[in-house]
């Protein structure tokens, strides 16, 4: 995938739930999931978002955005974090999306 951005999630209980949250937060069918066993790449071209609201819905109420750190061994692209969401993006991309503008 060209300009792939997104988290690399490590082996843990919540992995599938986080993947579902990511799928909720991004255009349908645009997220690619590659399973390597001990880690799973979740990515799409140029921009990917994950919100605390979606995580709370799938993982549980009270889930804090900072807890994502325990589950994410690495990521592709750049990252921007806040209490309500994390986004992965490139500043220069061939993907036709204005989503990654700051």
């Amino acid at each position: 995938m060209e300009d792939a951005v997104g988290p690399v999630l490590r082996m843990c209980d919540e992995l599938e739930l986080v993947v579902r949250a990511i799928e909720d937060d991004n255009p349908a069918g645009s997220v690619e999931i590659i399973d390597y066993g001990a880690y799973v790449r979740v990515q799409r071209p140029g921009f990917l978002r994950l919100t605390r609201a979606s995580l709370e819905r799938h993982v549980g109420v009270g889930f804090r955005m900072s807890q994502l750190e325990s589950i994410m061994s690495a990521f592709a692209g750049r990252i921007r974090t806040s209490s309500d969401e994390v986004v992965w993006y490139f500043q220069t991309t061939n993907a036709s999306s204005g989503e990654n503008a700051r």
């Binding site: 300009d3 792939a4 690399v8 490590r10 082996m11 843990c12 390597y36 066993g37 001990a38 880690y39 804090r64 900072s66 807890q67 750190e69 325990s70 589950i71 994410m72 061994s73 690495a74 990521f75 592709a76 692209g77 750049r78 990252i79 921007r80 974090t81 806040s82 209490s83 309500d84 490139f90 500043q91 220069t92």
Partner: protein
């Protein structure tokens, strides 16, 4: 208690610098540590990390990570998992623990330096948390390894390795000392968090975790993937630092990236390359090393560099070619010189494994097949002496790894070449043009003698193989041997060929007469140190060079041999003195 969102108050605790007036800023942040260089001093106030965290969040999240890592360890404490793990896989773990545990501590020092001399308060905060992370990594690694010391003394090298002069560790120190503590903190921020932590460490801590889990080493897989979650955060110190450099001094940024990328790739070939392609049991290999490198480095890491405006390193094509070569040669060398390592190398060349290697690396059989065939014949003939070394490889003056890097020559063949450089009357040898160029650019920096040079200088006593093993700290209970006790060789049904005949029983390394030369025989994969005498004829020199390759890794032939010196064939009856061969020069010998 209702908590404010972090971003509602974080800037209050991030921007905590003030302009010093009662102390000299240059004394508090001296140039040789902080080296702002072409970046204006006040530009650092714009430094902003992308992966934000507060101290209270840090404490809470790290507690969860530790509890999780130790819960898995505790759950497996009374299991028999360890005894059922493949012996080759265990070598992946032993190699990891030895080469990584104390390197993590050096990374703590690097983070602590950035915490002290970084020119932005927010950077220093991030580096403090990064320093705590690296203490965690060092202690986790040592603690997890410690469980197995009573079962296998090779695990003791988790702590011991960096206190020795073992050759892989010397190469690791050459890389890590330069990367982590050798320069100013701005360079360090590009070398360590950017090149190493967002690039190469992902292979060892995430990529290898998938092989670990598949191989049944749940504890190890869980530990290393947890460690890397810290890295994913503190490595982001590189981003804002790189942005400032790209704005004010992109040439500096590009050089640091290019240099550290190459040197990291060299060490990773001997750290991760053979772990993935030879030691991980065949059925559990998720991908080949080349495929993992393409995933994590060629695709993910390089795309990120380009997003910051950096270019691919100048030697890119040579690096890509090296993905087919470096780790195979280093694996062969590690296996052949197996008493010199603290793990048990798994040869990884059963018929099924060779089929896999050939499918993943189309050049493998052509370059390495004949060498392994000779070794296999020796094993099957019971000629174990011929499967062991009697001299040392010649080590590169930059990366400290053996000169065994095949590169494409102009006629399309892949050859191991000597890249020499004479400077101030001394001849240095390098594994590649790139290592030579890096050395030249940094020629005023501290240079440490290679083990080959230490042997030649008389630093290693006695100057023989036993002396070398002792110098490297290897004791008989730790010295490596084949992980499967050579039973993989029974896979082959080859009549005895390649019976080795040595000219005499003496070992070159015991000779007290020096003309030590850097020598290679034919298609053998490595340059070696051979000692000849001034009065030796070229026929005798050919025999002395041949004895370390022919019948060991090169199939013997009933043909004459010829010595090549400075690119020309030399008459068999000419002596070394007459030819003009001097110490440390390169000589090539081949069949006519």
């Amino acid at each position: 208690m209702a908590l404010m969102k972090r971003e509602e108050w974080q800037d209050l605790v991030r921007e905590v610098d003030w302009t010093l007036s009662f102390a000299d800023d240059n004394a508090v942040f001296p140039e040789w540590q902080s080296e702002t260089g072409k970046v204006p001093r006040d530009a650092w106030s714009a430094w902003e990390e992308s992966y934000k965290i507060s101290y209270s969040e840090y404490v809470s999240v790290q507690r969860e990570k530790e509890a999780s890592a130790f819960a898995v360890k505790a759950a497996l404490q009374r299991s028999t998992v360890f005894s059922s793990l493949d012996e080759g896989w265990k070598s992946c773990a032993k190699l990891h623990f030895g080469a990584v545990s104390l390197a993590e501590y050096m990374a703590f020092v690097a983070e602590a330096r950035m915490a002290r001399f970084g020119l932005a308060g927010a950077w220093r905060n991030m580096a403090v948390l990064g320093a705590l992370d690296e203490i965690r990594h060092c202690q986790l690694s040592l603690f997890f390894a410690h469980e197995f010391v009573s079962k296998d003394p090779q695990y003791d090298w988790a702590l011991k390795a960096f206190h020795t002069n073992q050759w892989v560790i010397v190469a690791a120190r050459a890389l890590f000392d330069a990367m982590m503590v050798g320069g100013n903190v701005v360079d360090t921020a590009i070398q360590l968090p950017l090149v190493f932590e967002t690039g190469f460490t992902n292979l060892q801590f995430v990529g290898l975790a998938s092989d670990a889990l598949a191989s049944g080493d749940i504890n190890f897989a869980n530990m290393i993937s947890s460690v890397q979650t810290d890295e994913a955060r503190h490595a982001q110190q590189c981003g804002p630092t790189l942005e400032l450099l790209m704005k004010h001094d992109p040439v500096r940024a590009q050089w640091i990236v290019d240099k550290m990328f190459w040197l990291s790739a060299r060490v990773f070939a001997v750290l991760t390359g053979h772990a993935m392609d030879y030691y991980t049991p065949l059925d559990h290999r998720k991908q080949s090393y080349k495929e993992f490198m393409r995933e994590w480095i060629v695709s993910q890491f390089i795309r990120t560099l380009q997003d910051y405006g950096l270019k691919k390193p100048w030697y890119w094509e040579e690096f890509i070619e090296g993905l087919d070569i470096w780790h195979h040669s280093l694996h062969l060398g590690v296996w052949f010189w197996r008493p010199t390592v603290w793990w048990k190398p798994q040869a990884g060349v059963s018929k099924a494994e060779r089929k896999w290697l050939s499918a993943k690396y189309p050049k493998w059989e052509e370059i390495y097949g004949p060498i392994w065939d000779q070794i296999i014949a020796n094993v099957n003939n019971g000629n174990m002496q011929a499967t062991l070394p009697e001299t040392v490889p010649w080590l590169c003056n930059t990366c400290h790894l053996p000169q065994c890097t095949h590169t494409a020559s102009h006629d399309g063949r892949y050859l191991v070449q000597d890249f020499a450089l004479t400077h101030d009357g001394y001849t240095y040898h390098f594994c590649s043009r790139v290592c030579r160029q890096i050395w030249w650019e940094d020629r005023d920096m501290l240079h440490v003698k290679t083990l080959t040079e230490r042997l030649l200088a008389g630093d290693i006593q006695p100057p023989d193989f036993a002396g070398l093993l002792k110098y490297m700290g290897l004791t008989p209970d730790v010295m490596g041997d084949d992980a499967y006790n050579y039973n993989w060789a029974a896979d082959y049904d080859q009549p005895g060929y390649g019976r080795t005949r040595h000219a005499n029983g003496e070992r070159n390394m015991n000779e007290a007469h020096p003309i030590p030369i850097n020598a290679k025989f034919g298609n053998d994969f490595v340059m070696q140190m051979v000692v000849i005498m001034a009065a030796d004829t070229m026929a005798e020199v050919a025999q002395k060079v041949a004895r370390h390759s022919v019948g060991k890794r090169v199939k013997p032939q009933t043909r004459d041999m010829v010595v090549y010196y400075e690119g020309r064939a030399v008459a068999a009856d000419a002596t070394a003195t007459e030819v003009g061969i001097r110490p440390l020069q390169h000589v090539f010998v081949d069949y006519v």
